[in-house]
């Protein structure tokens, strides 16, 4: 797409994105599980910087999560096995949501369960609340023994869970896919059939780390989910494949730490991106990514970030 680069010189770049039913002022979202309930980074990064934030995954009942150690650093990455520690639906509605609803950004609530009924219950209850921009269905948590990932690796189960959520809410439904599958396109098609409005990917890759001096697994949970720059090439490939397989908008994530990474995901087919582990390294990442996206668009003659989505697909 050739453009007059001079024409876009000092012009405003339109950062807004529209994913079926979910309008964001910019395409940069805080990834669930890395941004608490939105206010923890206030001193470092104003929450309104974000196009949206996905809050920590909620289950029907409160959970204390997995035993420590829950973290193991690996080359350019980190394994985590938090195990869905969260206050549970009731406490979330009472103590967390009222504060979230006032945040000057789109609030996405991530939901997790151990049965189809769990997901339906969460969707039914949260679907009635004000201040929620979308539900993200976590069918891909690798860190709990039952549920989570098992729904995310079998296309039939994935479709069933998403359909159950779809029936209970008019909010936009985001299906968060697991990379721990043979063919990510099958899962993408399954959640599309189930009625998902948006697909987000990738959740973490299952991995483990062993303490060689102690001769035992580092993580209390033995296995954990790998995130960080180490997984980025896998995530970009999967966004690329899902873009080809379905017509749904995509939120791409996996190891983004700078604007170039965000652009890469968008060129592969993402409409928006999420930043997770990158926040741990540098809490200023979202503002740096946004500034970089703007200047990239200006340099390449785009007036809107929406023009980037899938551009590399035509050049392969």
């Amino acid at each position: 797409m050739a453009r007059d680069k001079g024409a876009a010189g000092g012009a405003e770049i339109d950062l807004g994105v529209r994913l079926t039913g979910l309008e964001l002022k910019n395409p940069v979202i805080a990834a669930s599980g890395t941004y608490g309930f939105g206010r923890e980074y206030d001193l470092y990064c104003p929450v309104e910087t974000w196009g949206g934030i996905a809050v920590k995954g909620i289950t029907p009942e409160p959970r204390l999560g997995n035993p420590v150690p829950r973290l193991a650093e690996t080359p350019a990455g980190v394994l985590n096995a938090v195990g869905l520690e969260n206050p549970g639906l009731e406490e979330f509605l009472k103590s967390y949501l009222p504060r979230l609803a006032d945040l000057p950004t789109a609030v996405i609530v991530n939901i997790s369960g151990f049965s189809v009924e769990d997901y339906a219950l969460l969707a039914r209850s949260l679907g009635r609340e004000k201040g929620i921009a979308a539900l993200e269905v976590n069918i891909s948590c690798p860190n709990v023994r039952h549920g989570g990932l098992q729904f995310g690796t079998d296309p039939g189960s994935a479709e069933e869970v998403v359909a159950a959520v779809r029936r209970e809410t008019d909010l936009p439904v985001i299906a968060k896919l697991s990379p721990n599958v043979t063919d990510i396109r099958e899962l993408a098609r399954a959640v599309e059939r189930g009625g998902a409005d948006i697909i987000s990917l990738i959740n973490t890759l299952v991995g483990m780390s062993i303490d060689v001096e102690e001769k035992r697994p580092v993580l209390g949970n033995v296995f954990g989910g790998l995130s960080g720059p180490a997984v980025r090439p896998v995530a970009v490939r999967m966004v690329w494949e899902v873009y080809q397989a379905v017509d749904l908008p995509i939120i791409g994530m996996g190891g983004i730490t700078c604007w170039q990474d965000a652009v890469e995901f968008m060129l592969a087919g993402a409409d928006a991106v999420s930043i997770g582990s990158g926040n741990f390294v540098n809490p200023l990442v979202p503002s740096e990514v946004l500034a970089g996206l703007e200047s990239y668009c200006r340099r390449h003659g785009f007036s809107s970030v929406r023009e980037l989505t899938g551009l590399a697909q035509s050049k392969s």
Binding site: G77, S277, L284
Partner: protein, 279 residues
């Protein structure tokens, strides 16, 4: 406090190089608000390897000069990378983070340290002395060589009673810090039993290996001391967002609940910690 780029004023090996201890002095905005027991979340590399920041406790605070001192032991990829930073460079830090120790209004303040758990207690000792408290140090380490490398001379300069132990018996009692602690607290308790007079309130701040902190917390519960322990756990965010550093505690109503070492701690009342919980 916002993200800060502190200037490295000095960064050198401390004591016997074989101990791998280093002293890092930073000048910037941190010193103005830092309290004893808080920590800095330090980005050790400008690149993505190692990825995560490292939490390092603040060993001393000099508000006049705008400086804080961090002491650490080189023990892995993070601290090895940090050890290569030179004077004059800037260090990207989050903090000061965490709650820090409380400083009692009156009475005695006993500091109990195991190994490099001594580091965050120095700032507390100085704050306690400045507040007019009677401060004692109980400190156990591997050997005389270790205690000297880890700053024994500076503790001696404070002029407070030092109750030391070493595992090899080369200085103080032979064994853990529980030995000198027991020797000091026995007559104290005995005097109380005999006289029936209330003793000055005793606050105890503990930092060291988990088993040692548990032992002190349990002794303190039996004696009615106010014990605070500084817990350590692997951290990613440092601000309470990722839940990587959760610890299980028993709240006032006896219910088990989770707290975050980075945000709710690292200092916790000894009686709240569930020592034999998931670990």
């Amino acid at each position: 406090m916002p993200l800060s780029y502190e200037e490295i004023i000095s960064h050198e090996s401390q004591g016997n190089p074989a101990e791998g201890l280093r002293r890092l002095v930073l000048r910037g905005s941190v010193a103005a608000t830092a309290r004893p027991g808080q920590f800095l979340h330090v980005r050790v590399s400008d690149r993505l390897e190692p990825l995560l920041r490292r939490p390092l406790s603040i060993a001393s605070i000099d508000r006049t000069r705008g400086e804080v001192t961090l002491l650490y032991r080189v023990r892995g990829r993070g601290t090895e990378t940090l050890a290569r930073k030179r004077s004059g460079e800037r260090l990207d830090v989050l903090g000061p983070l965490g709650n820090g120790f409380s400083i009692p209004e009156k009475g005695e303040l006993w500091l109990v340290a195991g190994g490099i758990g001594i580091f965050p207690l120095y700032a507390l000792a100085r704050a306690g002395l400045a507040a007019g408290l009677k401060v004692h140090l109980f400190w156990g380490g591997e050997s005389r060589n270790f205690l000297q490398s880890a700053g024994l001379a500076e503790w001696q300069d404070l002029g407070i009673p030092l109750h030391l132990s070493t595992m090899d018996g080369s200085l103080g009692d032979k064994g853990t810090v529980m030995l000198p602690l027991g020797k000091a607290e026995d007559p104290r308790s005995a005097a109380n039993r005999l006289s029936g007079q209330p003793l000055p309130a005793l606050s105890v701040a503990v930092c060291g290996p988990r088993g040692m902190m548990q032992a002190v917390a349990e002794l303190g519960s039996a004696r009615g001391w106010r014990v605070e322990v500084s817990l350590e756990e692997r951290m990613a965010c440092g601000v309470g967002a990722c839940l990587g550093c959760s610890v299980t505690v028993r709240d006032e109503r006896g219910r088990l609940t989770n707290r975050k070492v980075c945000q709710d701690g690292p200092v916790f009342p000894g009686k709240e910690v569930v020592w034999n919980g998931a670990r």
